[in-house]
Amino acid sequence: MASLSPSISIEATGSGVADIRANVARRRRWDVLFAAFGLLATSVGVITLLALFIDLLIDGYHRLTPDFFLSFPSRRASEAGILSAWVGTCLVMLVTAVVGVPIAVSAGIYLEEYAPKNWVTTLIEINVSNLAAVPSIVYGLLALGLFVYALGFGQSVLSAGLTLALMIMPVIVVATREAVRAVPHAIREAAYAAGATRWQVTRDHVLPYSVPGIATGVIIGLARAIGETAPLITIGALTFIAYLPDPPLSTTPPYVSFDWLWSGFTVLPIQMFNWVSRPGTAFHANAAAAGIVIVVLTLLMNAFAIYLRYRLRKKINW
């Protein structure tokens, strides 16, 4: 900055001006160079994703018919569909969200707002950050021992949902803490000064202001869970399943049923994986079509996260 601001002593000599111009030109060159490099780096990611997605579209778009969404798997590629897979994905994600989100958000708020700063909380913090990076297969092994056998949940929607909930919780805890930390201290202090309890401060001030950040973390976590295969194969997801779990709502008393929690299941990525490894190219089109569905679901969730953040941020004024 200093070299760009005019200075009397330099203006006095002609060679000084030339030097400065050369200097500025050099810096500008670096500026342009870095901008070009940055653009290249950005486009590598975007173009790769785009190329993959277009490839999937070319291979699979002709399979994206209503029948594809309403048919069970079949030995005939042209009759096979993803009904049991997408219903399974929805049910598993429902369990994951209902169980994982409240626990993870509470944990994040507790760690940030309530927990005393001592070595125990430091230890917990380090562990949570590390857990966010643990490979998903490890959660699968844990879940196989804990949910499937020790707790006797079996190879069910419930076990799968709990496994993925465990997997995404660290991500949500970290996101929650960052969102909560971003709320200015002055707001808390003002509320305390007015005599509010810690819970009142959290409920009425901290939480509303941090919802955009928390929601982003939640949806990024769920978007990760939706594409997960390894832990679900470990706990025994099925590959061929040609029926739907019992519906959670019915027209006869008691109207609500939780039998679906105990049902066997398959999910979209597993169905896709199975089709990819089949002989014959007809099944590969199905796999590509299932891939499109997964990618679109993930993109929709991320778009929803961005929209939510935008809408909620507009309401914040401090």
Partner: protein, 330 residues
């Protein structure tokens, strides 16, 4: 909001479907090699029963399938090789008796690229020389297979070590399951191997016969010389059924839990399998057993004869009817 999103979608989907009731269930797990056949049978069976019976099929691999089977978690186990001694032990300890039923043939094909005009048949000894662990880093040129071959780099493609195909190929060729060189292009996904071999004139590899069948023109299958008869035999449905394509063809099995077999839905499913299995196996690219083999298997199931025809270790190169005539052990 997100709950509403997921909950709404899931609830909507389930309400749209007809109200289900607790239907009897047949649980199957195991080999990915047997999976396409069992899937086809399960699909047809559920159609025939109009959804009154639920059949589920998982893919845990033959070994993983037996683990679940011997814990009593599944009714039927898909197996691309006979039950092994330690698995027999596990089943015995859990008090689980099983009925061993061959359902189709699985043949391995040694293949080169259609661009390769050098070779049309190969002996088991040559295959052994190429694939045994001692060949690692040493046998790297076509000239080393046969002296008359030109000086050309040898690119090898084969199954990954977690696959049943790998186990069977090494057993049949090297003489010991899982004994193989490691410096080759390995994939659990046979489509990758088909692609690799197809475009590479220096390639040699092995894939399940179903993949050759489903990719006509992409691969050139080699005749394999039967070490017992000295005759070179091309892999085909006919040579596999009449037992002349040896040693790279094997029967694949389902194992039925003896107690589950008393449940009407399991009994009906197995009978359906043995009746429609031949036709459906052929449709998904597998080789069916000869008709009389299904009859003998049906008799075995009807008499609930438990045990295995193998002594707890895999064998190579037996004829299917001899196998079915054997005394069963448990």
């Amino acid at each position: 909001m997100k709950f509403a999103l997921f909950g709404g979608a899931a609830a909507g989907a389930l309400l749209a479907s007809q109200v289900a009731f607790a239907a009897p269930e047949v649980k199957i797990d195991g080999s990915s090699t047997v999976y396409p056949v069992t899937e086809a049978v399960a699909e047809e069976f559920q159609k025939a029963k109009k959804g009154a019976v639920r059949v589920t099929v998982g893919i845990s691999g033959t070994g993983g399938g037996f683990k679940k089977f011997c814990r009593g978690e599944t009714d039927i186990s898909n197996a691309s090789r006979p039950i092994l001694a330690q698995e027999m032990e596990a089943c015995k300890n859990a008090g689980i008796d099983y009925i061993e039923l061959p359902v189709a043939f699985d043949a391995l094909t040694v293949a080169v690229s259609p661009k390769n005009n050098l070779i049309s048949e190969i002996t088991v000894d040559e295959l052994k020389k190429i694939w045994e662990p001692a060949a690692q880093g040493k046998i790297t040129n076509w000239k080393q297979i046969r002296p008359e071959f030109p000086d050309m780099k040898l690119n090898l493609y084969g199954a990954g070590s977690d696959s049943g195909t790998f186990d069977y190929f090494t057993e049949a060729v090297v003489g010991k399951a899982k004994a193989s060189r490691g410096d080759y292009t390995a994939s659990e996904d046979d489509n990758v191997l088909v692609q690799g071999i197809s475009g590479d004139p220096q390639a040699l590899g092995y894939v399940p016969f179903a993949y050759v069948h489903e990719n006509p023109g992409k691969l050139k299958p080699l005749k394999v010389v039967d070490p017992q008869t000295g005759k070179a035999v091309a892999p085909s449905m006919e040579t596999v059924i009449d037992g002349t394509y040896q040693p790279l063809s094997r029967p694949i099995f389902i194992y039925v839990n003896r107690k589950s077999a008393d449940r009407p839905e399991v009994k009906e499913f197995v009978e359906f399998y043995l009746t429609k299995g031949a036709e459906l196996a052929q449709e998904v690219g597998y080789t069916p057993l000869p008709a009389e083999a299904y009859k003998v298997a049906m008799d075995r199931f009807a008499a609930r004869k438990t045990g295995t025809a193998f002594g707890g270790h895999p064998e190579v190169g037996m004829k299917i009817m001899d196998l079915l005539a054997r005394e069963l052990k448990s």
